[in-house]
């Protein structure tokens, strides 16, 4: 099973990359407000009052 000796190190590298990415995300404060962005995306900043009819009524 020589392929294992190639795949497993690649997995380790990917994990290391994921860890690094996460550490960066924590450090840059992306986990500080876990609720806001979920709501913010629903409120379109570019929305002008006269464009409102394009939006889904709810």
């Amino acid at each position: 099973m020589p392929s294992l000796y190639l795949i497993v190190p690649i997995v380790i590298l990917l994990v290391a990359l994921a860890v690094w990415l996460f550490m960066w995300a924590v450090k840059s404060g992306q986990f500080e407000d876990l609720e806001g962005p979920a709501h913010r995306i629903l409120l379109d900043d570019d929305l002008k009052p006269d464009q409102e009819k394009d939006k889904n009524p709810d």
């Binding site: 860890v19 500080e32 806001g36 629903l42 409120l43």
Partner: protein, 808 residues
Amino acid sequence: MNTKMEQNCFHCGLPVPATASYSVDINGRQEPMCCRGCQAVAQAIVNNGLTAFYEQRTGVSPKGSEQLPEILKQMELYDRQDLQNSFVEINENEVREASLMLEGIVCSACVWLNEKHVNALPGVVEFHINYSTQRARLRWDDSQIHLSDILKAISEIGYIAHPYNPDHQEQIHRKERQKSLRRIFIAGIGMMQVMTFAVALYAGAYQDMDQTTKIFFWWISLLIATPVVLYAAQPFFVSAWRDLKSRHLGMDVPVSLAIGGAYLASVWATVTQQGEVYFDSVSMFTFFLLTGRFLEMSARQRAGQAAEELMRLLPAFALRKTAEGEEMIPVADLVVGDQVVIKPGDIVPVDGTVVEGSSSVDESLLTGESKALRRINGDFLVGGSVNIESPLLMRVDKIGEETVHASIVRLLDRAQTEKPEIARIADRVAGWFVAALLIVATVVAWWWWQHAPEDAFWIVLATLVVTCPCALSLATPAAIAAATSTLTRLGVLTTRGHALETLSRVNHIVFDKTGTLTEGRLKLEQIKILHESDEVSCLAIAAALESWSEHPIAKILSRNKSKTITATGINAIAGKGVEGIIDNRRYRIGSYDFVSGLYTDAVDPVTSDRRCSQVYLGNEKHMLAVFILSDAIRTGAQEALRTIKKQGIAIHLLSGDDSETVESVAQTLELQNYKARMLPEDKLAYVQDLQSKGHVVAMVGDGVNDAPVLARAQVSLAMGGGTQLAHASADMILLSEELQHLPESIHMARRTLGIIRQNLFWAVLYNVTAIPLAASGFIAPWMAALGMSASSLLVVLNALRLKKLTGQ
């Protein structure tokens, strides 16, 4: 209510008074507004092209208030350099940075509205609101715009922003949170990776995996599990070490022993290439425990923030009287002996004595007394109370830590530290457990060493792994974490881990009245017409007169103010009422004696009913009407209390109000145990008395005066609309303000306890059956590892059943 009130204010949702005629054009429609304040706010939102806010919001906005020039002027003080030193950071190029606390945020649309509005101001570099904490970071260019302009812009759209000093505590919290998140992630990703290899190894055990591959997988697992144990699981080791140093065995001791022991054994197995590895169990266990602790920490931090916001009760500035005149200075600069002017509507900044003037003050925030109190020359003024009628000159007696306000905070601190008895019991059990475990392991080791020394190590290891208290230590936190998140969805925030456990054992509930069982604010209940008049004109006259007074009752009546009727020759007499002339007729509004002093005809007095506040209106001839105001009982209170009684819990009502009011509420709610005129000390004594009889007491309250009792009761709940201090001292917060959620929470707590018992039963059963098997050498280490993981998983899955909200 008898008056016609069909419409609700488009902005704040409160009913529009019949006599009001305010409206704003929003998207081509004239929307009704209840007052000038709401009208101004809505107009500002429309003018800035932000009407999308009204379509996106999911809650009603706070009532708009008119921008009084003195408040706007006060905001300008925030521009002063010496004052900014404490809360503003100055970066290069005149760019400054400050933290703001925002009041009035109810939904995500509010966040959007504020950000959009403030970011559009020229000179604002960045304005970002954290939705979870309702605090904002503001960066602005001081050469283009001043802080006060930004604060004014925020108040223009109906919100209030206070600059504050993000102190040490907040930064510690942030660091703690980041550290925990990192640990959870390392443990989580480590768990997933190691599990992949573990599955291959388990399968390989049956399909004859060759030795080289197996050892290779072991080394890889070791590589991944090492950071999990050394970094992610570090808090358990640290706390276990602290426990050992203080010579007591907490839950973290067996936890660390399990993690450390299983890890070291696995390392030994990998290096010597014999035996079994437990890297998967170690990572999984660490991950589950860390997640549970993180959830608990988040809830606690959220509650802690509330305590910090308590300082908002006190104003930032005071008007000091000096020989040269009056000057506005920061409250922190006040010294004992200073003379401070307190205008009507202002909050008393520190404790002191009245030296000039007389007025009534509202101490309800501190004492819970809902009626205003008279304060004249020589009387004591408590910091945090509100001056209602006329200006007072006060001599500063106590500042800073010596004030009553500060002492309440201290009282609360002490009560909070006295609390965690239940946590200690759990720790003691863990202590016994770990002691027993060590004894068993020693006995097993000794016995096998005598009989079969070559197998001894692996059998002892299997015993240690099998007896690992993973399931036992996950049993409670997993169930509590699941129940907590379900309750949070319901609008009940659990801020302390033990709350649910204790709530399920409660057999006495103590309620505060004002703001808890009742709405906490006076409402116009009824108008009794006494002499040939009609309600609408009486209301209009009352409103015209009362709009000159700052008294809280006057404010309710003046909401019906119309434009056509205005009063002249106003004479407001503190503590009595208001006199004025309308259409050449003299009117008086206020207490019975005051109003009846205006006419000579003896009219039989209206039967006095002290259960509610009554305001009389009369002219020179006779009494016209009496307005009856009362604090309405919350909807659903009756039903909720009935359900609680059915759950076998005794209900008590303790209030600071007078006995008639309390009696009437108790009668409506069918309560037998009630006490009126209770000071915070009395309430505390009452609860202590119940506790000394062996009862488990829950306290439900909302005010600052309830805080010590909330902290003292075994478990306490604060109303969402209550004061921050009440929030800080409570174990649970009823954010929904629905009393009906209280019996539901109790039901949930009882279910949680049931699940915890099942979990514990399972964990103990597993350990008890597995120990003899392992000790007698029947269990191979890999079976022990599988059993350990499976037992933990079962406990977690059982706990997840609490995620479902079932009716009673």
